[in-house]
Symmetry: C2
Subunit: 214 residues, 2 copies
């Protein structure tokens, strides 16, 4: 598994949220944004926002702000979201369906073009405009479709074999929603989403608040 350290990863995690807000602002006809607006929106300091935006290479106008359109384009380009990437999703259970139905991916340059499941009853059906194929065809279709991104939403015990199939199919990046560590070649990137991580933070904050006098 790739251990490549990515610099500025907190900044990168925040970029989609800026992007979302900026697109919203553009929709409502605004053309300029200043950091205080974004800082308030994200509940972070203004300096953080300016440092974050700097990473995109865009400069603002002192006393005025940034051009919204420029920022949107620069963030998209930085994240490689200016060109749509195609992905496949494996595991059309409740989480998989939720992800298939997520409308936000348009903003994120992601398009799920096929889904796979082991359940025979689901094969051939369409969930949120996406046809469900049998997992047996996973690596074959990945190759044929030249897909580089795979999204794993199967139960933990099956995740490794799915990952193996994705790798065999030429996938270069795996977005892993299953609660397991995947073994993949160094050349393949795995982004694991641990939903309980956020809950842990919530729990600790909630609890420390109950006891702290500070």
């Amino acid at each position: 598994m790739s251990k490549n350290k990515i610099l500025k990863s907190p900044t990168i995690r925040r970029l989609p949220t800026y992007l979302h807000k900026l697109i919203e602002m553009r929709k409502s006809g605004e053309t300029i944004v200043a950091t205080p607006v974004l800082a308030k929106y994200m509940n972070i300091g203004e300096i953080v926002v300016r440092k974050d935006l700097a990473i995109t290479g865009i400069t603002g106008q002192p006393g005025v702000g940034y051009k919204i359109k420029e920022l949107i384009d620069a963030i998209k380009s930085f994240l490689n979201w200016d060109m749509t990437s195609e992905a496949v999703l494996v595991g059309a259970g409740s989480l998989g369906s939720a992800i298939l139905g997520y409308e936000g991916f348009e903003e994120n340059g992601l398009k799920i073009i096929a889904a796979f499941d082991a359940d025979g009853d689901k094969i051939g059906t369409v969930i949120h405009d996406c046809e469900i194929f049998p997992v047996a065809r996973l690596s074959e279709l990945c190759k044929r479709l030249q897909v580089k991104i795979g999204i794993i939403c199967v139960p933990a015990p099956f995740a490794q074999e799915v990952a193996d199939d994705l790798v065999a199919g030429g996938v270069k990046a795996i977005w892993n929603f299953a609660n397991v560590a995947l073994k993949v070649p160094d050349s393949v990137i795995v982004q694991r989403e641990v939903i309980a991580g956020g809950l842990a933070l919530l729990s600790v904050k909630l609890n420390s608040q109950n006891y702290d006098i500070n």
Copy 2:
């Protein structure tokens, strides 16, 4: 919104993953674990693991390792997951249903005891053992059930009013899956999950790999 900085938040985010692995190991009859095992599982350095575990107050035996049972109890207690917390969920769409169906929360000391939706057709039905109530009754039932945690899975435009209802109902912590910044009193904690954040990281890693020679 609370800006309380939580120290060691990367550590706290990792704790649920240790916990998960440890519980798995206990199930298969193991009683002792050494850091190299956990480090390999999580793809991080051994020292990180030791530092992380230290936060729980547990000490291991040099040359041997840690007692799995002790670690499990200490992590649970640190995260306040030794006592089950009750929560309500609002928005029984596809994401909401996925969360209602997530079996892992048992490990995380969370129990969703009621769900709410605006869709009349869903009211009274049961999704994953959880009855669906009308949102109109949200704050009333929160008060009556004395629930302290609310999970928001409604579309972004409705999230703020749901948050207001939760706060009115006495909820102290909100786990927000809607893509908006919520305005809540300082005394209420909000944990916002931005799914696109992980995707941004994935995109940047995937892309930097394509170009970096290093």
